[in-house]
Amino acid sequence: MQEPVKTPGLSSTDKERLSQAGIDLEMKNRCGSYLQMDQDMVHAACDESGIEVLPYKKAIEKYSWLQDYAWKAVSPDKDDITKYVAAQEDPRGYVIIAHKGSKNVLPIQTCLFLGRDKIQHAHNIIIAEEGAELHIISGCASGSHVGKGGAHYGISEFYIKKDAKISFTMIHYWGEDIEVQPRSASIVEENGVFLSNYVCMQPVKKIQMYPTATLTGANSLARFSSIVISLPGSHMDLGSRAILEAPGASAELITRAITKGGTIISRGHIRGNVAGTRGHLECKGLILKDGIIYAIPEIEGSVVGTELSHEAAVGKLAKDEIEYLMARGLDEDEATATIIRGFLDVKISGLPEALQRQIDASIDVAEKSGF
């Protein structure tokens, strides 16, 4: 059993925001934790044997071989965001290493909290060595008093070795003045599995990300699932990309997007470079109030024997479906909420129960406030 995470000076409102981003400060259902508030590392610990949670700088000092991983999946010259983070003399962020054969049942939580500063930066490296299984929930939130101009730049590099598995569930709880630009990439080796889940049900000024998984090993698998609601004033430019480079590699990119007045650009790209690869991209959008859902699915095959498909649909709630439920006694609001709930209900296979519950819980919160 872990000690609760101490967060001196955090208001109860902000604690609540963290909890809605999936952060369990009591550590009841977590085996490890990393908490960074603005640029200060507050807590880093893990009591699962074979798994280490370290602040970035300490990790680099401890393991010189990490040089072979830092900035190898994401290029430091990629764009202004990566350049900004790469230029930091005093890098922040975390390193999680699941050593060979280790496994966590309860997830590790990582939390990046933007409290006062204008810009928060972090560089994270997550490694699952051969046969390891690592489950992480990452809650990102801003304090209720962060004013205009707050920004979060996070670089995350994932390395999934032979027969290893990483699930990374990210729940965002920003404010309507915050700009968020994560940059992340993963490299998946033979038989490796990478599950990336993203949930954002709350306002944000601007979020832009396009994580890429490169599947370099035979029979490797990547699955990206995103569940987002865009409120008025929110601009969400979300994508995910999978590059299939070994026989038997497969990818699935699933998005459920709802606009209530905001903008969602849902990008997806699967590239099949070798034979015997498969990929599917699915984006379903629901326009509840006038806003924009712009789905841009791309599939790109370059050899015989890669099978790629996509399915995109944007629409409104169907009246006959609402009335079907009304005929069973639900009023219009209840019927609508029940259908939206179903629309967002993406069950992610291979995800531990605790994480699926956490995803369901953030949808519950949105449902209670009437979507």
Partner: protein
């Protein structure tokens, strides 16, 4: 239980039902027959309160109360229920979740009820997605078992269903209509659309009506009307009455 007075209904800009009158008493089950496209489904959807069925004239009284202007859920809450001929598929919404939503505070044992109509393996499936004809009907019966309406409308409960399933569905519909109770104690009423009459073996109906071109043209003993239609077709059956 139900009283329909001089009801005319438009679908789109076309008048589909013309001046319908129909009264169904407590404990009674009526059968509605008629050729395809004559307006039977339209009548049921109108009684249920679907918004694309626009009442241009007349009234619907349920348990003495004027429900003509009410929404579907208000009618459902007062005890009107319906088995749909072609219910919509709702992507993502699991049958089990829907049943929980409609059971509201009632402490129903959903898995147990689902077993009765062999739908226990469907609770985690999207409603109606890829359901066969028989599965759709069983799912509809299950929803009605939880809703437990006082007035049950059934739109072709046996169409697309094999004999074994007809018996399962028929028995449970009989239950919904309290056919196991003595006639004196029976409170529930029904209105059933059928072409084949198989369902009559389970519900012993009291009265039959034939609809043609949006009008109810003929009333009588349901078995006799059915026999007439099966022997001579709708055309002659209706001609006999209009003379």
């Amino acid at each position: 239980m139900l009283q329909i007075k001089n009801l005319s209904v438009n679908v789109g800009d076309k008048e589909v039902l013309h001046d319908i009158n129909l009264t169904i008493g407590g404990g009674e089950t009526h059968v509605l027959m008629g050729p395809n496209g004559s307006g039977k489904t339209t009548l049921l959807m109108t009684i249920m309160g679907f918004s694309s069925y626009v009442i241009t004239k007349g009234q619907i009284l349920f348990k003495g109360e004027d429900v003509t202007a009410m929404h579907a859920h208000e009618r459902a809450q007062r005890g009107v229920g319906m088995m749909f001929q072609r219910p919509p598929t709702i992507s993502g919404l699991k049958l089990g979740k829907m049943l929980t939503a409609i059971s509201k505070t009632k402490e129903e044992n959903i898995p147990e009820l689902a077993k009765i109509v062999h739908m226990d393996r469907f609770l985690e499936r999207d409603i109606n997605k890829g359901f066969s004809g028989g599965e759709i009907k069983r799912s509809e019966v299950l929803q009605l078992m939880i809703q437990n309406p006082d007035f049950v409308m059934l739109d072709e409960p046996e169409s697309g269903v094999d004999l074994e399933n007809i018996s399962l569905i028929g028995r449970n519909i009989g239950g919904l209509l309290e056919k196991d109770k003595h006639i004196v104690d029976r409170k529930k009423s029904g209105l059933v659309i059928t072409h084949t009459g198989y369902i009559l073996d389970y519900i012993d109906a009291d009265k039959g009506h034939v609809m043609c071109d949006g009008e109810v043209k003929c009333h009588g003993n349901p078995r006799e009307i059915l026999k007439e239609i099966q022997q001579r077709g709708y055309k002659e059956c209706l001609e006999c009455r209009s003379q």
